[in-house]
């Protein structure tokens, strides 16, 4: 039963107050885009056993979407940050590096 801190309202929300939204930092590919890119955008997922970046919505709360850095093997949470982020903030990256030196996820490291 996860607890995640909503970066908007600061509430340490119970899992039952949140709605999971799948993998984070997906780039949308629209009309005319390459089929591989489009397939990657809609279907291909990192699905790592370990560090993962994912989307959550504080559904039973302020209603805002946010992103979380979490380990899928231990459920450790390294931090949460606003959905309006092209990549994880340095503070989160540092927090991960402290626990998982040499980590990488897609283009992030």
């Amino acid at each position: 039963m996860l607890i995640l801190e909503c970066p908007y309202c600061g509430v340490h929300a119970d899992e039952t107050e949140l709605a999971p939204g799948g993998e984070a930092h997906l780039k949308r590919f629209g009309p005319g885009s390459d089929i591989d890119d489009f397939e990657g955008y809609l279907f291909m997922r990192e699905n790592p056993k370990g560090l993962h970046f994912e989307r959550w919505r504080h559904a039973y709360g302020c209603g805002k979407w946010f992103l979380a850095a979490r380990c899928t093997a231990t459920l450790e949470v390294f931090g949460t940050y606003p959905a309006q982020s092209a990549e994880p903030p340095q503070s989160i990256k540092d927090a991960i590096t402290a626990k998982r030196p040499g980590w990488s996820w897609r283009d992030f490291a």
């Binding site: 607890i3 009309p31 559904a59 231990t74 459920l75 959905a83």
Partner: protein
């Protein structure tokens, strides 16, 4: 015999006799008794039958680890099977019956199995009943099921209520023994929010039975003092009868409080399920004594040594007059001493250790108790109860040296810490060679959200069997937990416990060491599931080498006690058979709950009317009092039809359709989604959301729009109204309101966060009522107010104004093909407006209609319905809705997906109308068959029906469906499945069956 001793027990109040019944026999116990102690006090040793061989079973333990003492408790609405008698507190009028036997407990036909035992080894059913095939289902399986299964199935609805409670604490201490008490006291001193829970009704755990000295007082006095101290702390809550059931991720703990099991007549919930968020968890859950594996160790009268002691000290019950004690450690000597002090005989203590015991042994000898070192039990004599034991050398193969008559055997194979809660969430274990036990590996604890340790094991649960160590460990666990949760205080003196020094135990996994097959096949490991030493050895022999395989193959540890007594002995036996060390065998996974918890408690208050929320419109009250036949739509309940007296539901629908087409109908459309979208970028946003162009919609006008998922599939539709320059109102389907609003917010927050758009879900702010039918305008004009003429308010436009004095927003839109006004008024006025419409409409024959009429009306008109024409695999193009897909836009959600080969495939099934040649109604779900079979031998298909109804207006069946190249095959006749293997002929026609020109809705 088993009887009540003159020496009163600690926990019972002989001044308060209690009457109860067992198998119809009325018996007496005392306040403070458990059902087990009360039965034993009445010499009722035999309490049940085992699972597989239906062997006679007696109580073996005194606590939650009891595998045998399970009964059917209560009757009717309070009946409950598999109640554990050692944890069932006695109450006046308690009525219990024993389980798993026929015809009676004393004489059980099923016990024939015990004589067939040699034919029923581990996994026998995998090897037989294979031929002939039908016999398995019809003969063997029913027999196996009937003979398995323990308690009876409840029949009635549960008469009790349950509830949940959520709380957040800094430190949760599980276990009210001296370690737990010390932990709670120390954590409490720091000011941390502390919750201490104990599964039984009494504090102090084992210490108060054996009474070591703590801080110069007896353990009992120390417990009393400590409890007083805890009670005085504002920040500490202590609870008995509350079991730590499970530890989950991020400090989530389930606790199971049994509020009324001991007092059924009291009011309030029966159980309370605690959902605790703890920053730190201390598991001071104690340890469980292990049985010894010797032949006949399953006979009634063979108990754990500690249990025999508990019954004597706590309940003043002597299990036998003559008790033989078998042990491999010093602790069991305490039982001998306790029995001796209670005036009972202990003919001999058989200590499997060559050198025997320490100080406690000396005390025993001093009292004249015979102590035999290096000796063991070869076998126990007796049938339904112990009559004696034959003694042999532990080192030998069981050659009998002497026979000793006795009526009770107290066994002790050493102690195993209760590591369940430590292990639930990933805590690792380590094998302690010296004490022959798995204990928590404190270097690999369960970790929480921050990746740091969240559980600390304490006391005997942490492998510290001595009082001094246990209490000190508890103290430091409490201190460490509080500190980890951010609380500290100046340390005070560590509670000081004193112990009689003990000699180390010697692991004894088989008694005697060299027991032959005849003995091994009578030495029980799992008493309830009838798993013997020989079964585990057979599993190993057949290659079931992993502990998980052996467990599943033999069913060891899969009984209702989940192996609390059998697991360690079982895997020690396995390691012996495989000749590998115990730690390499490993343990099975510990899963919640620690002991079984009621389904009622898990469901909590969510039963009957509170099972799930029922969403109501402002007009629901009227529906309920006017014979509405409801259908659930999401969490809403919408009237399916309003059934008049003497009508069938079908008649009602016909009447509603005809009346709406000829006079005027009234529909409560309040459940439709109404989402306001506002801002400088709102138009641009809606152009991305809808397949249509919405930015160019003129203020005051309405437009029907489609929404697709990024996969291209049609997911919702509805009418969009342009409110003002930067504001649109989007109508969604009933089911879509919340989903689509969340969908909008998702895109606005996560993709186009620089766009200036705000949304608000106004679905519940308004009651929306559709006035539908040729006389709709007359009704509104009669009510007076705004001009609703065709000129002032043409089709597909909206206007604000008043109607009959109500502030209203009126939409000229139609989902029926009739002249139609959808009128939104503030929800608080919805019911009054509805009533006003009804009275104004009376003279025009106005009648309310339900969802089924709505469906028929739209089907006659050929309008699609999300969920009928769509199913998550249909794209707008399939439904000939290309006209609603803007060609001007280079992007909208779903557009890219619709460019994919399969989406653009000309062979996709397309929407058409269907009507049977004989006017009958095509069955729901019918498929259109095509010639031949596919490579998998399945009949080919060329389409399916999506909506099919009897049309009262046309007096025949009408349908819509998706058909291969349908629109190009008008007039063609295809065959549809009837479902009974036959087919019905249907002609492909235009999907619009009524008012093809669309004149009626535009008058």
């Amino acid at each position: 015999m088993s009887t009540r001793l003159s020496t009163a027990g600690r926990l019972i109040d002989t001044a308060k006799p209690i009457k109860f019944s067992f198998n119809g026999k009325t018996l007496q116990g005392y306040a403070g008794d458990t059902l087990a102690s009360a039965l034993l006090a009445n010499d009722q040793l035999l309490v049940g039958r085992s699972f597989k061989y239906h062997r006679p079973r007696g109580v073996v333990a005194a606590g939650a680890e009891e595998p045998n003492g399970l009964v059917n408790l209560g009757s009717n609405g309070t009946f409950e099977p598999n109640q554990r008698i050692t944890t069932t507190e006695l109450f006046d009028g308690l009525s219990a019956t024993s389980q798993n036997h026929w015809p009676s407990l004393e004489f059980d036909v099923g016990s024939i199995n015990t004589h067939l035992a040699r034919f029923l080894p581990a996994g026998f059913y995998y090897k037989m009943f294979i031929h002939p095939r039908p016999l398995w289902k019809h003969v063997y399986e029913p027999f196996i099921r009937q003979s398995a299964g323990l308690g009876k199935a409840p029949k009635d609805r549960d008469a009790d209520t349950y509830e949940h409670f959520n709380c957040t604490v800094d430190v949760l201490v599980i276990g009210g023994g001296i370690a737990g008490l010390a932990a709670a006291a120390e954590a409490g001193r720091t000011g941390a929010r502390v919750l201490l829970i104990e599964q039984t009704a009494a504090w102090g755990g084992r210490a108060v039975v054996d009474q070591p000295t703590i801080d110069g007082q007896t353990a009992a006095d120390w417990v009393t003092t400590t409890l007083a101290g805890l009670a005085a702390m504002e920040n500490v809550d202590i609870r008995t009868r509350t079991m730590g059931a499970g530890v989950y991720d991020h400090g989530y703990v389930l606790a199971y409080e049994r509020l009324r099991d001991h007092a059924p007549k009291a009011s309030g919930p029966r159980h309370r399920l605690w959902r605790i968020r703890a920053r730190q968890i201390v598991t001071a859950t104690g340890a469980i004594e292990r049985p010894l594996s010797f032949a006949g160790n399953d006979l009634p009268g063979v108990l754990l040594a500690s249990a025999v002691r508990d019954y004597a000290v706590n309940f003043g019950v002597g299990i036998g007059d003559r008790t033989v004690i078998a042990t491999n450690n010093d602790d069991a000597y305490r039982t001998a001493l306790a029995l001796h002090d209670a005036g009972l005989q202990v003919p001999v203590i058989l200590d499997a250790r060559a050198k025997g015991g320490g100080e406690l042994a000396d005390q025993a000898r001093a009292k004249g108790i015979r102590v035999e070192n290096g000796k063991a039990i070869a076998s126990v004599k007796g049938g339904k109860r112990v009559t004696g034991v034959s003694v042999c050398l532990q080192a030998g193969q069981g050659a009998v040296l002497e026979e000793i008559s006795c009526d009770c055997v107290a066994m002790s194979g050493g102690w195993s810490p209760v590591v369940h809660l430590w292990s639930h969430c990933g805590g690792k274990l380590t094998w302690d060679e010296a004490q022959a036990m798995f204990r928590p590996n404190n270097d690999r604890p369960p970790t929480g959200a921050d990746g740091e340790a969240m559980v600390i094991a304490a006391g005997t649960a942490n492998g510290h069997l001595y009082t001094a160590e246990a209490i000190a460990d508890g103290w430091s666990a409490g201190r460490a937990a509080a500190h980890a949760a951010g609380f500290t205080a100046k340390p005070e003196a560590i509670p000081d416990g004193s112990d009689v020094p003990e000699l180390p135990l010697t692991p004894v996994w088989m008694m005697p060491q060299g027991a032959g097959y005849d003995l091994r096949s009578k030495s029980w490991l799992d008493f309830q599931n009838d798993v013997k030493v020989s079964d585990v050895q057979l599993a190993a022999q057949e290659g079931f080498e992993s502990v998980e395989h052996a467990k599943r193959y033999t069913t060891l540890g899969m009984a209702t006690d989940q192996g609390k007594l059998s697991n360690i002995n079982g895997l020690a036996t396995l390691s012996g058979a495989l000749n590998i060390p115990i730690p390499s065998v490993g343990t099975t996974t510990f899963r919640p709950p620690y002991t079984p918890i009621s389904m009622g408690a898990i469901a909590g208050v969510a039963r009957d009317d509170l099972f799930q929320p029922i969403r109501k419109t402002p007009i629901s009250g009227w529906h309920e009092s006017n014979r509405a036949d409801f259908e659930p739509v999401g969490q809403w309940r919408r009237p399916y039809a309003f059934v008049h007296k003497g009508e069938s539901v079908h008649d009602a629908v016909k009447r509603e359709v005809t009346n709406t087409r000829t006079n005027v109908g009234l529909l409560d459309a309040s459940t439709l989604g109404k989402i306001l979208v506002k801002g400088p970028d709102a138009g641009r946003f809606l152009d991305m959301l809808y397949t249509n162009m919405m930015s160019n919609l003129a203020v005051g006008k309405c437009r029907y729009g489609l929404m697709c998922s990024e996969n291209g599939f049609l997911m919702d539709d509805g009418v969009v109204a342009r409110i003002d320059d930067d504001t649109w109102l989007c109508h969604t389907t009933t089911g879509g309101a919340d989903r689509i609003h969340a969908w909008m917010e998702d895109w606005l927050q996560c993709e186009w966060w620089d766009w200036k758009v705000y949304t608000a879900n106004l679905t519940e702010q308004f009651a929306q009522i559709a006035v539908v039918g040729p006389k709709a305008r007359q009704v509104l004009e009669k009510m007076g107010g705004m001009d609703v003429s065709k000129e002032a308010l043409p089709f597909m436009q909206w206007a604000d104004g008043t109607i009959g004095g109500f502030d209203a927003r009126v939409f000229r839109i139609s989902f029926s093909g009739e002249l139609s006004y959808e009128i939104a008024v503030p929800a608080s006025q919805g019911r009054a407006f509805w009533d006003a419409l009804l009275s104004a409409g009376a003279e025009f024959g106005m009648m309310p209609y339900g969802t089924e009429c709505l469906h028929v009306l739209r089907a006659e008109k050929g309008f699609i319905m999300i969920g009928d024409e769509t199913d998550g695999t249909v794209i707008p193009q399939d439904l000939n809705l290309g006209w609603a897909i803007s060609k001007k836009k280079d992007d909208y959600l779903g557009k890219r997906a619709q460019e994919r080969s399969h989406m653009a495939d000309p062979n996709r099934w397309k929407l058409v109308g269907l009507e049977t040649l004989d006017g009958s109604v095509i069955p729901d779900g019918a498929y259109a068959v095509a010639e031949g079979m596919n490579p998998n031998g399945q009949r080919n298909t060329q389409g399916r029906v999506t909506s099919t109804y009897f049309s009262p207006t046309l007096g025949k069946g009408i349908a819509m469906g998706l058909v291969l190249h349908g629109p190009d095959r008008m007039g063609e006749v295809i065959e549809m499945t009837k479902g009974d293997g036959t087919y019905i002929k249907a002609r492909i026609v235009d999907q619009v069956f009524y008012d093809k020109a669309g004149e009626k809705q535009d008058v």
